[in-house]
């Protein structure tokens, strides 16, 4: 469970987020929306310890991230799958190796998880690209590789930052479907997006809570969507 208690984040003398409180219940599905530059990415980064709150507390499994050591944060990230806005990969490794990367850094033998890896690649529809290298992939394929990598360690929480940005409608629906499937498996999912059509399209598939960041604060949205 991730809890935010009166969280604020300031950078360069200005406050980007202010007085944000939220409890992300296990198994819930959230959309986080708001205009560009509102602080959606910052919000997600606070949730997985990539940034530390300048006021208030972000608690991962009850522990304030500001009191966690770097190693503790690294270990906590293994339970949080992240699909970043501009997914980066190790370009000298194949798609399969990139997807298996979380296993490797956790010291687990990727060969033992070979079946899981193949299943995961098949799930995101990239079995035929397993030996390709990231620079050879399209935007949609890269996002699916990022999603596969994010769920490789079977995390409890999936945080996706604009996962459908810069990809076509059909592909964004495919990615949304994958995220909904993950939620149905019991995973907590939070998607940051400015794409309201995607949020509307999801209504038939999942019961989602829609949050909006406006004027540095978090608001519950929904009625106007």
């Amino acid at each position: 469970m991730i809890e935010l208690d009166k969280v604020a984040y300031s950078y360069g003398g200005g406050e980007l987020l202010s007085d944000i409180s939220l409890t992300v219940q296990p198994g819930s599905f959230h959309f986080l929306t708001g205009p560009s530059g509102a602080g959606k990415t910052t919000f997600l980064k606070l949730m997985y310890g990539d940034l530390l709150a300048t006021a208030g507390q972000v608690r991962l499994s009850g522990v304030d991230t500001r009191t966690m050591s770097r190693d503790q944060i690294a270990l906590a990230r293994r339970k949080i799958g992240v699909v970043p806005q501009n997914s980066q990969f190790l370009d000298h490794l194949s798609v399969a190796d990139n997807v298996a990367l979380p296993l490797q850094v956790a010291g687990r033998d990727a060969t033992e998880a070979q079946a899981d890896l193949e299943q995961l690649l098949s799930w995101v529809g990239l079995s035929s690209h397993r030996d390709a290298f990231p620079p050879e992939l399209s935007g949609g394929e890269r996002q699916r590789v990022a999603l596969a990598r994010a769920v490789m360690m079977s995390p409890d929480v999936i945080l996706a930052d604009e996962p459908t940005g810069n990809i076509d409608w059909e592909m964004s629906q495919r990615i949304l479907k994958l995220l909904v499937e993950l939620n149905k498996m019991g995973k907590t999912v939070m998607i940051a997006t400015h794409d309201l059509t995607m949020i509307r399209a999801s209504k038939a598939q999942v019961q989602a809570r829609v949050l909006r960041i406006a004027n540095r604060r978090l608001q519950l949205a929904g009625a106007d969507l």
Partner: protein, 301 residues
């Protein structure tokens, strides 16, 4: 045990963590070349340090075990005072041998200044007595000086300390400077490896971000860089050390032309000393890269 484990881990490596860092040709070559060059210089500095130390010890030992007695007296008293001095020396503990130089030996000593045909018998040249101290006894030079003053008033002891001390000091300082050079070379190498590691870390910032994002601990990331740089430094230093040892071995031998410079080098088991250079280079590279990696990682989220 921990050091052995660490060395084994460095040699065997972790195939997973090794693969996460892409090959970086330029920094690899820079580290190897720097290590080779520094090891080459370190080999010479070590040879200089060893040789100057050997020289200082030899001068100190050889010169401290001999002294010269000069007897200046009117012609008719010279032989008497020489005999009196020899008698004193014979009864002095700590003296192994005391021998008056004959006319030919004294002529040879003066030849550089006055030529070979010097009529030494006709000149009031002082008589010299060459004294060798026993190596296992402690000679009381002050006591000997007092006894000689009583028995042979024209006798003056020269224990060579006047010119021996600066020579020995010079050799000792040379040894110190060589050791300082070794320290500076080590420091310069650490700085260069640190810079190369920084460059590699900066070039691979996106790789590090990905690794952090998927839950890699700093130690895991650092290890991938540290092993690579340590092995590069070790390999480069090994090549540089071998080249340095060959260069030292090819210096002219002292038998051919006697002198300090021709005596530069290692002897016997001393040839094993340069083997420590690559090991030291590896340790320095390990510490420098680990320090640079962990410091850089701490600046990242």
């Amino acid at each position: 045990m921990k050091a052995t484990t660490l060395a084994m881990a460095l040699m065997v490596g972790d195939p997973h963590s090794d693969r996460v860092v892409p090959p970086t040709g330029f920094t690899a070559q820079l580290t190897s070349f720097t290590s080779a060059a520094m090891a080459f210089l370190a080999c010479f500095a070590l040879a200089l340090s060893v040789s100057s130390g050997r020289l200082a010890d030899r001068w100190a030992q050889e010169l401290s075990q001999s002294l010269t007695i000069r007897i200046s007296a009117p012609g008719d008293q010279l032989a008497v005072q020489t005999q009196a001095a020899l008698a004193v020396l014979e009864t002095t503990p700590g003296i192994e041998e005391a021998r008056p130089l004959d006319a030919d030996e004294q002529r040879a000593l003066l030849a550089p200044w006055f030529g070979q045909s010097l009529p030494i018998e006709e000149l009031p040249v002082p008589q010299l007595i060459d004294v060798i101290e026993a190596s296992d006894a402690d000679l009381d030079v002050d006591g000997l000086r007092l006894r000689l003053q009583a028995e042979a008033p024209g006798a003056v002891i020269d224990d060579h300390s006047r010119w021996r001390r600066p020579l020995v000091q010079a050799a000792q300082r040379l040894r110190g400077l060589s050791a300082l050079s070794l320290i500076l070379i080590t420091g310069a190498m650490a700085a260069m490896v640190t810079l190369a590691a920084h460059a590699a870390l900066s070039a691979n910032r996106s790789v590090i971000e990905v690794l952090r994002q998927v839950g890699a601990r700093d130690d895991y990331i650092a290890k991938a860089f540290v092993r690579r740089f340590t092995l590069r430094a070790l390999g480069g230093a090994a090549v540089g050390t071998i080249a340095g040892m060959i260069a030292v071995a090819l210096m002219p031998s002292s038998e051919a032309t006697a002198g300090f410079l021709t005596d530069l080098g290692f002897r016997g088991l001393g040839w094993l000393l340069p083997a420590t250079i690559p090991i030291l280079a590896g340790i320095v590279a390990f510490a420098a890269t680990r320090f640079a990696a962990l410091r850089t990682l701490r600046t990242m989220a």
